[in-house]
């Protein structure tokens, strides 16, 4: 039991990192990794949505299985995620206006973050129980945050570097991400 939980945590955080190993959620990873503080805010907001949506999707999939409507999985899941993001938008606006303004437009973009839908699909496909679902959602989200923070740290430095014109912007960010992914692939098979 504890071993399973432990391996889910390690796999979500490092060996099966959502960005570097599964290559999901690249758009916000490239878009929001220019500054350290917005990277942290985005990472935590995405973590929150991933955990919540995985849990809701976990229960809804049980209902769909009972009703033999599993082919509706994609449509239902994306609607749930869109509704949750909208809910988070309303709650944050009331509860914490400062965080709300600092997240800005990125909040709405969480809906189209494929890390969220991808994790919900993975969790359902693996047939996890509720505890495992929460742990998996949390560790995938924190793995995303970790990748975002690491990337932001490097990119803040590259702003002062001399980069050939065609490589400026996204190309150099992709190459940096590739080198980081190489480092992460070194962890493969660590706790297999």
């Amino acid at each position: 039991m504890w071993m399973t939980i432990f391996s889910i945590v390690i796999s979500g955080l490092i060996t099966n990192n959502i960005i570097f190993s599964q290559t999901l959620g690249i758009c916000p990873f490239l878009g929001v990794s220019k500054k350290l503080d917005s990277a942290v805010g985005m990472g935590l907001a995405v973590t929150f949505v991933i955990v919540l949506s995985s849990v809701v999707c976990h229960y809804l999939y049980m209902l769909l299985e009972l009703a033999e409507l599993t082919y509706l999985q994609t449509i239902i899941f994306i609607l749930i995620i869109a509704a949750l993001v909208q809910l988070l938008d309303i709650v944050l606006k009331k509860a914490s206006p400062s965080l709300y303004t600092s997240l800005g437009v990125y909040l709405a973009l969480i809906t189209t973050n494929c890390a969220v839908l991808g994790t919900a699909n993975n969790v359902v496909a693996e047939g996890y129980g509720i505890l495992e679902t929460v742990v998996a959602g949390l560790s995938v989200g924190l793995g995303f945050t970790l990748a975002l923070i690491l990337m932001a740290g490097v990119r803040e430095k590259t702003q002062r570097a001399v980069i050939p014109k065609p490589f400026q912007g996204f190309p150099i960010a992709l190459i940096i991400a590739g080198i980081m992914a190489m480092a992460f692939s070194g962890f493969n098979g660590l706790f297999a």
């Binding site: 290559t23 490239l30 609607l79 014109k165 065609p166 991400a177 992914a181 190489m182």
Partner: protein
């Protein structure tokens, strides 16, 4: 409806290439470009969804209220994705086995929602269909090109390039090359770009 809109829509796949210029839909591009077959298969599935969702959204653009347009678009897109998923799992089970986890994720591919929001919701059905087709072909070409480069390098024994790390690096270099070529092209054909 005029010729200029149509021509711009038809050239959009190259001049505004979704992968190399707009930098949309990165996740499937990197994840599924590890072989030519996977890349081409997923590219075609995405293009089909793109064309049909562009047509449907353009037809419904006067019916959908502005406030609920995003959820409405997502439901339309998800419907076409489900249809494509059923067709591929029914007729091409081998392809389905290797790209199945990425087919549902076509829903959240920003190329599709991006074209719906910025083009299909404002233009006629014909122009939207042409735009979808051109963007779809642009996406198929770029993801297949990446798949060919990565599979080729992998076959030479550089197994790194078949892994995600190689996907990031190859995409970075191809994007830089594309930027470079587009810079030269734009200088030569300034009048075409401004038209």
């Amino acid at each position: 409806m005029n010729g200029k809109t149509l021509r711009n829509a038809a050239l959009g796949g190259i001049l505004n290439n979704p992968v190399f210029v707009l930098v949309l839909g990165m996740c499937p591009t990197i994840a599924q470009s590890n072989s030519i077959i996977n890349a081409f298969g997923l590219g075609c599935a995405t293009a089909v969804v793109l064309v049909f969702s562009n047509i449907a959204i353009s037809l419904l653009r006067k019916v959908i209220p502005d406030k609920v347009r995003l959820p409405a678009y997502i439901v339309i897109i998800a419907t076409f994705v489900t249809i494509v998923q059923m067709v591929i799992s029914g007729f091409l089970p081998e392809l389905y086995a290797s790209i199945s986890s990425f087919i549902p994720l076509i829903v959240v591919n920003c190329i599709i929602l991006g074209r719906a929001e910025s083009f299909a919701s404002k233009n006629s059905v014909l122009a939207s269909a042409v735009d979808g087709l051109s963007m779809g072909i642009g996406f198929i070409l770029s993801i297949t090109l990446l798949g060919a480069i990565r599979q080729g390098l992998g076959a030479m024994g550089l197994s790194l390039f078949v892994q995600p790390a190689g996907g990031f690096i190859v995409l970075g270099f191809v994007m830089a090359l594309f930027n470079c070529l587009m810079g030269i092209f734009k200088n030569r054909h300034k009048t075409l770009m401004e038209a």
